[in-house]
Amino acid sequence: MLVLCVAAADSALAASSRPFTLPADLETSFGLAGVLVIGLVTLRRRRALREAVASGAGTVGGAGTVGGAGTVGAGREVAAPAGAVAGGAGTSPGRRAVTAWGALTSAIVLFELVNYFASPRSTHPTVSSLLDVLAGHEILRGLLFATWLGAGWWLWREP
C-alpha cells in the first residue's frame, strides 16, 4: 500500500515536469531506484526461501516467514521442477506465436531505424517523437509514468 502511494506520488510529480530538467531526472531516478530495490529484495527473499526449503528446515510456516509478502507465489516456484518454464506447458507460447511476434517486433525495429536515420523528424517520426506528443499532456504523462513503474514492478513478480 505504501509502495503504491509512493508510486502514485512520483507519477503525479512526473506529470508536471519536462524532460531535460532536474526534476524530471530526479523523479525518473527515484522510480528506477525504487523498482530496482523492490526487485533485489524480491530476489533475495526468493533465494532465502529456496535455501530454507533445500536445507530441509523450510516447513510451510518457515517458508512463509522467510518469504514474507507474496510467499504464495514463491512457494509455487519452489515446487516447480528445476529449469522448467514457470506456468507450465499450458502457458508457454508456441513456435507460431514466437514467430509472429518476432516478425512484428523486427518490422517495428526496422522501421524505427529507417526513421531514426532519416530527416526531418517531423516527416519521419520515431517511437520517442510519437510518445513526446503523448507525454506533452500532463495527465497522459502521469499515466504513462505510472504504467512504466507498473511494468517495472511486473518484471520482478513471481512467475
Partner: protein, 64 residues
C-alpha cells in the same frame, strides 16, 4: 510523406492489436504478448534484458 509514415506506424500498431486479440482467442496457435514476455521473464538472461530495456525506455522518455 508524413502521412504515409504515420499510416505505416498505425498499420504496425494494428497488427500488434490483431495479434494480441488472436492470441487471446487462441486462434491459430497464437499467444498474447503478455505470455511471451512472461516466458522471457522467467529466464535470468531474459529478465535482465527486459529490465535493461525498461530502464532505458523510462530514462529516454521521461528524463532525456
Amino acid at each position: 510523406m508524413r502521412l504515409a509514415n504515420l499510416a505505416i506506424w498505425s498499420a504496425l500498431v494494428g497488427c500488434a492489436a490483431g495479434l494480441e486479440i488472436a492470441g487471446r482467442l487462441g486462434v491459430a496457435g497464437l499467444s498474447p504478448a503478455g505470455r511471451l514476455l512472461a516466458s522471457l521473464r522467467n529466464r535470468t538472461a531474459g529478465r535482465a534484458a527486459l529490465v535493461v530495456f525498461w530502464m532505458w525506455f523510462g530514462w529516454h522518455v521521461f528524463a532525456r
